[in-house]
Symmetry: C2
Subunit: 363 residues, 2 copies
């Protein structure tokens, strides 16, 4: 008996019973937020009138409005958006799932998405997948459970069929940086292939023939595309590629370092390195800084201070902010109903020469 009604009478009686305590606490802390009903009572008006004032709807006398405002002020009322969402269907929030906020590449991207969201009156809910497909799915579904109006996803996995019910239900979705797997969805990418190809061609144009490539796992779309760009540039120049010149799936600094050192020594040492992403580039810069023989370097992704190093680091730059902005704008186009069929948008990259990519081969 006591057990059955325990939950209800808890706020009054002070009988902490095991894990009910936390709950009791919550009730005590959250239960007492004023609602529109409270405001209405205090202002001596109807519930709906409060709603009208809060939402700036017309049809309220100046005097009534003032009374309501005063009650709101006095009680510290804030509209409960959960209830509002439940009623209206729209949440005015969008979800962003990215790989790692601590990566400097994603800061500006995230910021750009937020700016666009803000311009459309939406809040941003975000999370990091840490490059783990399961975690990505967990996050995305959690966001869907919140009924976000739309999703911007930098995918970690390569199978997104779990999103089918959401797409059918009309959740706007845009993938960024990497394409969606197994489903037809909007996607905004950089021209990874073209950028890498041009970067490698740049090295070839400066006389290099033995060029190394250090990149991420080819299961990551961007990494695969950049590798393809490297191979294409080499093939276009008629240069056969030796296996020992390419190192894939290498991410942590230790292994990048070893990979770089290996291709710089041996029988046929490379005279130039193409680095597949900013983290690799930075590590390679460190390795090269320790060596006396100059080695040319072009990196994919720009990074701060690249120009201040000696020599400045030549990079294939992609515009992270523009990626984010484009994706977010497509998202809101979907929500407006403007955009109906999924499209693939590819943004150009830009080669920025700063010195390291223009070093001649030191044979």
């Amino acid at each position: 008996m006591d057990n059955r009604t325990g939950h209800r009478i808890v706020p009054e009686t002070a009988a902490p019973r095991g894990d009910r305590l936390a709950e009791r606490h919550a009730a005590a802390r959250y239960g007492n937020r004023p609602t529109m009903k409270d405001v209405a009572a205090r202002a001596g008006v109807g519930l709906k009138t409060v709603s009208r004032v809060v939402n700036g709807e017309p049809g309220v006398t100046a005097d009534t409005e003032r009374r309501v405002q005063e009650a709101i002020e006095a009680l510290g009322f804030r509209r409960n958006d959960s209830a509002r969402v439940l009623r209206k269907g729209r949440t005015a929030s969008i979800g962003l799932v990215l790989e790692d906020l601590a990566d400097p590449f994603y800061g500006p991207l995230s910021r750009a998405v937020e700016e666009v969201a803000r311009a459309h009156g939406a809040l941003l809910i975000n999370g990091s997948s840490a490059e783990d497909p399961d975690r990505e799915q967990e996050l995305v579904l959690a966001l869907c459970a919140r009924r976000v109006d739309g999703l911007v996803v930098i995918p970690a996995g390569d199978d997104h069929r779990y999103l089918e019910p959401e797409l059918r239900a009309g959740v706007a979705t845009v993938f960024v940086d990497r394409p969606a797997g197994q489903i037809d969805a909007d996607v905004v990418l950089s021209d990874n292939f073209g950028g890498a190809r041009d970067g490698v061609a740049h090295l070839i144009a400066h006389g290099h023939r033995r060029i190394g490539f250090i990149g991420d796992m080819p299961r990551i779309h961007t990494a695969a595309e950049r590798l393809r760009g490297y191979r294409t540039a080499m093939a276009d120049a008629g240069i056969p590629v030796t296996d020992s010149w390419t190192s894939l799936g290498v991410t942590d600094p230790q292994r990048v370092r070893r990979a770089a050192e290996e291709m710089l020594s041996g029988a046929e040492p490379v005279t130039a390195i193409f680095a597949g992403n900013n983290r690799v580039t930075v590590t390679v810069v460190r390795v090269l800084a320790e060596r006396s023989r100059p080695v040319a370097l072009v990196g994919f992704d720009d990074f701060e201070l690249a120009d201040l190093l000696q020599p400045g680091v030549t990079v294939v730059a992609q515009d992270a902010a523009q990626l984010g902005r484009t994706a977010a704008e497509r998202l809101f186009s979907q929500l407006d109903g403007t955009l109906l069929t999924p499209e693939r948008t590819e943004l150009p990259t830009r080669l920025i020469t700063r010195g390291s990519g223009e070093l001649p081969p030191a044979d």
Copy 2:
């Protein structure tokens, strides 16, 4: 008559009526998500049984559970968390308001907060204030309207009395990096004063007496504290400070550049500069790189590649991730009820010597 049921039958009839159209649109897109009722109907069970299965509550036969799971699968049902929140009171989400996600200092901080939130099963909703107090307030209140369980705020403004109703209602709140204004709240800071004092003392120990300071507006707490550290170190060493050696409120690269150039020329040029934050430091590095006469430099905040520059940049480092982690943990302590009185936590800074701060004065 038609009017009454109009909202309901909208998906079928195609009778757009003025601004109903948008609503109709929304209804068409969002209205048709399956609910527990739908699942129950399909599985041939009661509504509450579905709820039980979805929430893993006991008291459901294996067979019934299977039938429900199949229905969920078939319909692509996802629980609507808005309704859940409305019912339960807790949202399992926390808000993070920071200054600018594109600033590399905030990436790791944000990431750390997210990790802690995740460990507690909470989602993170975030937004940038862009250093604008009004925008900060707007964001914070929007988050409160979503009924976030707690708030981590990097304040832009210096008056947070608008949060009083929320605090009273039990919204857990922690301020990071800068203290709250006009209210008594938890706050996690770096030892800005001590760090700056030690950094300047380091320069003095290496023989400098004419030391410049370039920092942000003193209305920003961190900037004021760092300035105080600079002044204290100078005073402790018995060095009178000339006005022209300190430049405040300077943020954009152009003006930092001019400020640096001014203190480096003139009758009493400085032989060393203390830079008040990472953005200033980077700009000063650029200015110094153009000069032949070596000038010592210590910067507040570490940044990537500081060690690779020539010379390496000596910095007073604060641990952004640790700030975020500490703040988030305090937040959840508040939510657990473990933590009851607001406290001020100050994290130590660390001087990292890399060369630029050990240059002797070139008189």
